[in-house]
Each structure stands twice: as structure tokens, then as C-alpha cells.
């Protein structure tokens, strides 16, 4: 396989970023946007061809005789050499999940590029300020995300991980004149950076003990006779990690170092994927432009954590406790986010919490995946859900963007009854809602049921818990849907235009994504992606019992939402009055932000920062200040010598000369 296409996949977005960033101001808005979109379109084609090649060409590099998919390193360039063995490389890694991620990222990114051509201008067609900058940042983000998923080693992943964080920061703070956007971008950056600290420590611990950064050295065995081709094999992590086991295993605070490393790496994933308690940045990140929310905070960046765990999954399999932690964190987050999503007013916030909840689904699915349960069904289900969720969540976000663009507010109380005005948005949004609720035959149904049956295999408690979350998901999505499109007739204020559907650049991505959301469930995903590359018969493991129960739950939830929100009625208020505490807690997101504010402002600031600041100001600065004062005093003291009085200079010179002359005479006589 030639390395041209992989290099181009990474190089084109990077080039577009540099080009648009440097020359964007010189060209017209439309040209910059079109160039960015065309660049992304090229990457889309290349990524599709790469993925198609990988999955369907039957090349022995990609699939062996037994039909098992292999991992192939297209190229791997040493970038930093620490020791003989420990090097950081930059490369391009092709395996089922990276190929799938290439498709997801380029699809969503291209849709968002196209959509932004229409979204990033006002009703008169005037482009927003910084339009070119926006496209430059989008290209940077796409580059970083693509680099992340094709990383050949964990350090390359970390580098691009940070780049993703930085470009996310830039995009959230795109409206940098808005204080809330600036603080949201800072919050997102700081919280994810904090999580990445754990990630970095985890990487260092892991590589310290194993002596390698490479994924292939950690999880797979080389395939005989073929260069750069590997196959996932559990014996590799066993032998690599044998140092962690046995009586001489390095321990730290009562747990093995391996557990620590894996949990710390998962902490990085928690930050990026907005798992509790590091989720607080994601709802605020909705301050960014809506296409950004669709691209970063729904479909691509937030699944990086899931992708990370999936990438290191054979390692996690070695350590049951880490998987249990992932399951517990995921389950709690899923339920929490679903509860909160029921009580939000801002439609983007609802979608944000729904995203948190759905990503937690994927995490749980990874956490409950074991080879012994249907050959790692959970892993496949997680990846499948990642794929379908990316599509329908991007659809929902872009739909929400269309609504916000039309109405000019994030608040659904300003919307209501829009179905007649914006039919395309209405139908595509409905498809998105049906998909996320898990109604057959929309894509969410299949992936969610895989997850639920994986949970059922693992433990009944998890299964019931996640089913409840699925129920809540259907409920709050349809609550949102009805409140936007039904509830009561839309009032068109005088002097305002009636809201209407968007230009084709915005409609087309909606329609494409809606179509994908409808049919994606029928992709034989198990044949393409599984934890060890073995093809996996999807339908053979399909549990119709689980499926029908979840379907019934979803229908009941939708029915409930229909009763409560289809027409204007007092039921929601009554329910709110009946459960005031619950509503209040959900509405305020269980006071997580306040808790963080309390911890940071009251405890950390007062107990740690104040003394440190005092120390800094009085001891460190004081030392430096006293040096300065000393110097100042000294120069004040000797300043009179430089009086500017030329006669004094002459006097001093004369005295000096006389002294020298006197000494000379004394010596000579």
C-alpha cells in the first residue's frame, strides 16, 4: 500500500490550516470557505478509499486467510529517540477502528465544513467576522483528530490529543468578544488539561515499566512473513505485563502499578469524553458555534476517550479492576446526564448532556466487554454506537444549529410549533430523535441494543440501569422534539420574518446525515470491527428479548413525552410541582459546577493559592525586590560621583594623576 494517500490525509488539513490561517484574510470569505470545504472533501474521498481498501480489498496485509482483520502500520517515522528501544514515532496505523474513525471524522467534518458555509453568516448573507479563521481552525481540528486516530503509538496519540484540545479551545472561544465563550473555552481547556495530566502520568508509568510506546508492542503480535503487519493477541500483553504480575509486581498504594497506569490513562479519556466528574466543561462548550459543537462536542473529539480505551483494550482486559471502574463511571455518568437533560431549557445543553450520556453508554459497553461473553460483544457494540451516535448526534446538533440560526436563540421557549415553518429541519430532527431513542429500524436501535445485551451478559444490575437510561434518553429527546416543533403555535413577532428553512448548504448535510442515520444500523458492523479482528456475526448474537424490551421502553417513553408535551397543557408544571427537589437538582445539573466553584474558590484558592501567593509575593518577590532596592540604593549612593559637573571630574582626575605621579616619584627617588 502506497503511503501517499495516508500522508495526504494528514497533510491536506494541515496545509489548509496554515494556508487559510496565513492567507485567509487576503481572500474573500466565500473563497476561503470553499477552499476549506474542498480540501476536506478531498480528504473525505481519500479516507473513504483508504477505509474501503482496508475493509473490502482482501489484501493479505489487511486480512488473513481465516478472515481475521490485521493491523497494518503504513509508515512509522522515528521522531524522538530516547533510548535504544524507547522512541517516539509519528506514523499511520490502520486497523478496524482507525479505519472506521477515519470515515466518521471525515464525514462529520466535511458535513460541518459544508454546513458552516451557510451557518456562519447572518440572515442577509453577510459572513461573520473571522470566517476564514473559523475554517482554518476547523482544518486544524480535523488534522489533529485524524492524527489522533491513526497514531501508531501512545505518545503520538498524546501529542495529537493535546492538539485536539488546543483546537477545541480555539473553536469554543471563537466568539472571543463574548465573555461567556472565553470562560467556557478556558474551562474546557483547563479541565481537559487536568485530565491529560493523569493521561501523561499513565503513559509514563506504562512506558517506564514496559519500555515501549507502541500500540503494537503492547497489544498485538507480528504476523509471520509480513512486514509491519500485526494481529491482536492476548499473549502479547500477558508477556509484556508479566512484570506487573506475580509476587514481585511493583505496587503503589495498595494497587498494582498496572492498575494505576490504566486508570490514569482512562482519566485522560474521562476528561476528553466528559465522564463524571470531569464532565463540567462540555455543557459550557456549547458557547462555541453550533457546527463546532456538532463536530467536536458530539461526534469526534468527545469519543477520543472511548477510542483510547478501545485502542488499549487488550491491556485493559488484563486488569479487571480498571474495567470495573470504567463501567461504574460510565453507568453513573450515563444516568446523571440523562436526568439532567430532562430539565434543561437550552436546546444545545440538552444535546450536550445527551452526548455525555451516550458516550457513557459506549464506556459502559467497553467496561462490560469480555472475550468470554459473545466474543467481546461490548467492544463491537461500543464502536458501533460510536459510529451511529456520531452520525445522528451530528444531525441533531446541525438541526439545532438550523433552529438557532432561524430563531436567534438557544432557548426552546422562543421556539414552539416550528414544524410548519421548517419542514426539512423538522423531519431530519425527528429522524435523529428516533435514532437516538432506539426505534427500529433507525441506527441507534441496533447499536444501543448491542450495548444493552452486552450489559445483560455482564450483570443484570448494569442491564437494568442502562435500560433505565435508555428510557430516559427517549423521553428527554422527545420532550425536546415536541417543545421545539409542537407544544403551541409559533408566534411570529411583528417586524420579524417568519422562520424558514435554511439554504441548501445547511440542508444538504442534514439530509445526508439523516439518510445515514436511517440506514447505518444495517451495516454488518461486526464483520468489520471487533476487538481482535475476527469477523463476528452480528445477527447470531442478536438478542430479540433485549431488543423488544428496549423497544417497548423507548415507545413508552415517547408516548409519555407525547402526552406531556405534544400540546400545551399543565402536566409538566404539575410534575415539576410534585417533585420540586428533583427538578431543581436536575435543572441545576446536580450542582456540579457549584461544587467545583466551591472547591476551587473556597478550598483550593483559600487554603493553597493564598499561602502560595503570599509566599510568592513576599518571599520570592521580596527577595528579588530587595535585590532591586539594594541595587537602587547603591546606585543612589554612587550617583553623586556622576554629577555632570565637569569641574568635579577634572578635580578627581587631577587628584588621581597627582597620586600616581607621587607614587612614581617616591619609587624612583
Amino acid at each position: 500500500m502506497s503511503i501517499t494517500i495516508p500522508i495526504l490525509i494528514l497533510a491536506i488539513p494541515l496545509f489548509m490550516f496554515i494556508f487559510l490561517g496565513l492567507c485567509g484574510k487576503k481572500m474573500s470569505h466565500l473563497l476561503a470557505g470553499t477552499l476549506g470545504t474542498l480540501g476536506m472533501g478531498t480528504v473525505l474521498v481519500l479516507a473513504y478509499s483508504t477505509a474501503f481498501n482496508y475493509f473490502f480489498s482482501g489484501d493479505p496485509l489487511f486480512i488473513n486467510e481465516a478472515g481475521e482483520r490485521l493491523q497494518y502500520i503504513v509508515f512509522n517515522q522515528t521522531w524522538l529517540q530516547f533510548t535504544e528501544n524507547l522512541t517516539i514515532s509519528l506514523g499511520f496505523f490502520l486497523d478496524p477502528i482507525s479505519a472506521m474513525m477515519l470515515v466518521v471524522i471525515t464525514t462529520i467534518s466535511f458535513m460541518v465544513h459544508l454546513y458552516s458555509l451557510g451557518y456562519m453568516r447572518d440572515h442577509h448573507g453577510v459572513f461573520e467576522k473571522g470566517f476564514q479563521r473559523f475554517y482554518a481552525f476547523l482544518s486544524l481540528f480535523s488534522f489533529s483528530m485524524l492524527g489522533l486516530v491513526v497514531a501508531t503509538n501512545i505518545f503520538q496519540m498524546y501529542i495529537f490529543w493535546e492538539l485536539v484540545g488546543a483546537s477545541s479551545y480555539l473553536l469554543i472561544g471563537f466568539y472571543y468578544t463574548k465573555p461567556s465563550a472565553v470562560s467556557a473555552s478556558k474551562k474546557a481547556f483547563i479541565v481537559t488539561r487536568f485530565a491529560d495530566l493523569g493521561f501523561l502520568i499513565g503513559i509514563l508509568v506504562l512506558s517506564y515499566y514496559t519500555g515501549t510506546f507502541n500500540f503494537t508492542d503492547l497489544t498485538s503480535a507480528p504476523v509471520a512473513g509480513l512486514e509491519n503487519v500485526y494481529q491482536v493477541s492476548l499473549s502479547t500483553p500477558e508477556s509484556v505485563l508479566s512484570i506487573f504480575q506475580g509476587s514481585a509486581a511493583p505496587m503503589f498504594m495498595g494497587a498494582s502499578v498496572l492498575t494505576w497506569a490504566l486508570v490514569l490513562i482512562f482519566m485522560g479519556g474521562m476528561g476528553k469524553s466528559a465522564m463524571m466528574p470531569l464532565h463540567i466543561w462540555l455543557p459550557d462548550a456549547m458557547e462555541g458555534p453550533t457546527p463546532v459543537s456538532a463536530l467536536i462536542h458530539a461526534a469526534t473529539m468527545v469519543v477520543a476517550g472511548v477510542y483510547l480505551v478501545a485502542r488499549l483494550f487488550p491491556l485493559y482486559l488484563m486488569e479487571n479492576s480498571a474495567l470495573v471502574i470504567i463501567t461504574v463511571v460510565g453507568a453513573l455518568t450515563a444516568f446523571y446526564a440523562a436526568m439532567v437533560a430532562c430539565a434543561q431549557i437550552d436546546i444545545k445543553r440538552v444535546l450536550a448532556f445527551s452526548t455525555i450520556s451516550q458516550i457513557a453508554f459506549m464506556m459502559v459497553s467497553l467496561g462490560v466487554a469480555r472475550p468470554e461473553y459473545h466474543e467481546g460483544l461490548g467492544y463491537m457494540a461500543s464502536m458501533f454506537h460510536l459510529f451511529t451516535h456520531a452520525m445522528f448526534k451530528a444531525l441533531l446538533f446541525l438541526g439545532a444549529g438550523a433552529l438557532i440560526h432561524a430563531i436567534g436563540s438557544n432557548d426552546y421557549t422562543a421556539m414552539h410549533g416550528l414544524r410548519k415553518y421548517m419542514p426539512i429541519t423538522h423531519w431530519t430532527f425527528l429522524i435523529g430523535c428516533l435514532a437516538i431513542a432506539g426505534i427500529i429500524p433507525f441506527s441507534g436501535f441496533f447499536s444501543k441494543d448491542e450495548i444493552l445485551s452486552a450489559c445483560g451478559n455482564y450483570s443484570t444490575l448494569v442491564y437494568i440501569w442502562m435500560s433505565l437510561v435508555a428510557f430516559l434518553t427517549a423521553f428527554y429527546m422527545f420532550r425536546l422534539y415536541y417543545l421545539i416543533f409542537w407544544w403551541k403555535e409559533h408566534k411570529v413577532h411583528e417586524g420579524h420574518h417568519a422562520p424558514h428553512d435554511q439554504p441548501w448548504t445547511m440542508s444538504l448535510p442534514l439530509i445526508i446525515l439523516a439518510a445515514v442515520s436511517v440506514v447505518a444500523g444495517f451495516i454488518p458492523f461486526g464483520k468489520l470491527v471487533s476487538w481482535n479482528g475476527e469477523p463476528y456475526d452480528f445477527m447470531a448474537h442478536f438478542d430479540w428479548g433485549v431488543a423488544s424490551i428496549s423497544l417497548i421502553l423507548a415507545v413508552v417513553a415517547i408516548a409519555l413525552a407525547t402526552v406531556m408535551y405534544r400540546k400545551e397543557n399543565p402536566l409538566p408544571d404539575k410534575m415539576q410541582a410534585a417533585l420540586p427537589a428533583l427538578w431543581k437538582w436536575c435543572h441545576h445539573r446536580f450542582y456540579w459546577d457549584e461544587l467545583y466553584m466551591f472547591i476551587t474558590h473556597k478550598i483550593i484558592f483559600n487554603c493553597i493559592c493564598r499561602p502560595l501567593a503570599w509566599f510568592d509575593r513576599h518571599i520570592i518577590d521580596g527577595t528579588m525586590d530587595s535585590f532591586a532596592i539594594l541595587t537602587n540604593k547603591a546606585s543612589e549612593a554612587i550617583r553623586p560621583l556622576q554629577s555632570g559637573q565637569v569641574q568635579m571630574y577634572v578635580w578627581i582626575y587631577a587628584i588621581g594623576a597627582i597620586l600616581l605621579g607621587g607614587i612614581t616619584i617616591l619609587c624612583l627617588i
Binding site: 578635580w651 587628584i655 605621579g661
Partner: protein, 170 residues
């Protein structure tokens, strides 16, 4: 053995040098200070004559007394307000000046008096006539000074231009 006449002349000249120098630097009227300087310069010219350097004495009178002093007088008249004496010196400054000059005096006098050769009689010397001076100044050989002569001429030219540029009205 010198003649009594030349010794009397020596006494007069050295007294003139000492007295007029002191008065030149202590007089509170600046124009008078310039005049005392003129007398000192004349006395110095007389010293040159006594030492058989007639040409040098003539130059001293012509350039210093005729040229430089006139410049001084012009500058003084241009810059000082009439009837304006310089202020009485503060004692501190006077003490500083006295310290420096007296120290210089003692150190140099000690150095001079320690040299026996300075007490030798005036040796005989053939007269330095104008022809010798002219040859020395216009020649390029050993002990001849064409190059410094030309350098000084350039210096004077530069000085003329510089004087115009600096003092011109803007």
C-alpha cells in the same frame, strides 16, 4: 656666568608669569582675567626670546596675543552682561581647587628638584635661524615635519568649518 642684566630680566619675567597667572585665575572680572592672560603670554614669549628661540617668541605673540586673545575678548563681550562680576567663590570649591593645585605643585616640584641635571648651566647652541626652521618644516626627511604641518593645516580647515557650523544661527 650670566650677566646681571639678564638675571634682572629673568626675575622680572618669572615674577610676571607668577603674578599674572595668579591674577588671571582669581580676577572676578572676566575681561581683566583675559588681560592678565595676555600679560602672562607676553612673559612666556619673553622666556622664549631668552632661550634664543626668536621665531617661537614671535609666533607666541602673533598667534596667542594677536589671535586667540582677540577671540577671547569677542566671546567675553558676546556672552557676558556688562558690569556682571562672577560670583564670589564658595570656600569649599576654593579649598578643593587649592588642594589639587598645591598637591600638583609639591609633587611636581619634588620631582623637579630631585633631578641634578636640571641645575646644569645653559649649554651653547647655535642660533636657530629661519632657514633651518623652514627646512625642518617643509622637508620629509629625518627630523623634518611636512606631515604634521599638513595635518595641522587640515585641522585648521576643519576647525573653521566646525566653528561656522556650531556657532551659526538656526
Amino acid at each position: 656666568m650670566e650677566s646681571v642684566g639678564s638675571f634682572i630680566l629673568y626675575v622680572i619675567v618669572s615674577l610676571a608669569i607668577i603674578v599674572f597667572s595668579v591674577m588671571a585665575v582669581t580676577s572676578r572680572k572676566i575681561l581683566r582675567a583675559a588681560t592678565y592672560l595676555l600679560f602672562t603670554l607676553f612673559a612666556a614669549a619673553v622666556v622664549y626670546f631668552m632661550l634664543d628661540y626668536q621665531f617661537l617668541g614671535a609666533v607666541q605673540i602673533a598667534v596667542y596675543a594677536g589671535g586667540i586673545l582677540v577671540l577671547f575678548v569677542f566671546a567675553i563681550l558676546l556672552t557676558s552682561h556688562p558690569g556682571n562680576n562672577s560670583a564670589v567663590l564658595g570656600s569649599k570649591r576654593r579649598i578643593l581647587g587649592l588642594i589639587a593645585s598645591l598637591a600638583m605643585l609639591f609633587v611636581s616640584a619634588a620631582a623637579l628638584l630631585a633631578r641634578a641635571s636640571l641645575f646644569a648651566a645653559k649649554p651653547q647652541m647655535e642660533e636657530v635661524n629661519m632657514q633651518k626652521i623652514g627646512e625642518a618644516m617643509m622637508g620629509t626627511g629625518a627630523n623634518q615635519y611636512l606631515l604634521p604641518f599638513e595635518a595641522v593645516s587640515i585641522l585648521l580647515l576643519a576647525c573653521i568649518i566646525g566653528g561656522i557650523v556650531v556657532a551659526r544661527k538656526r
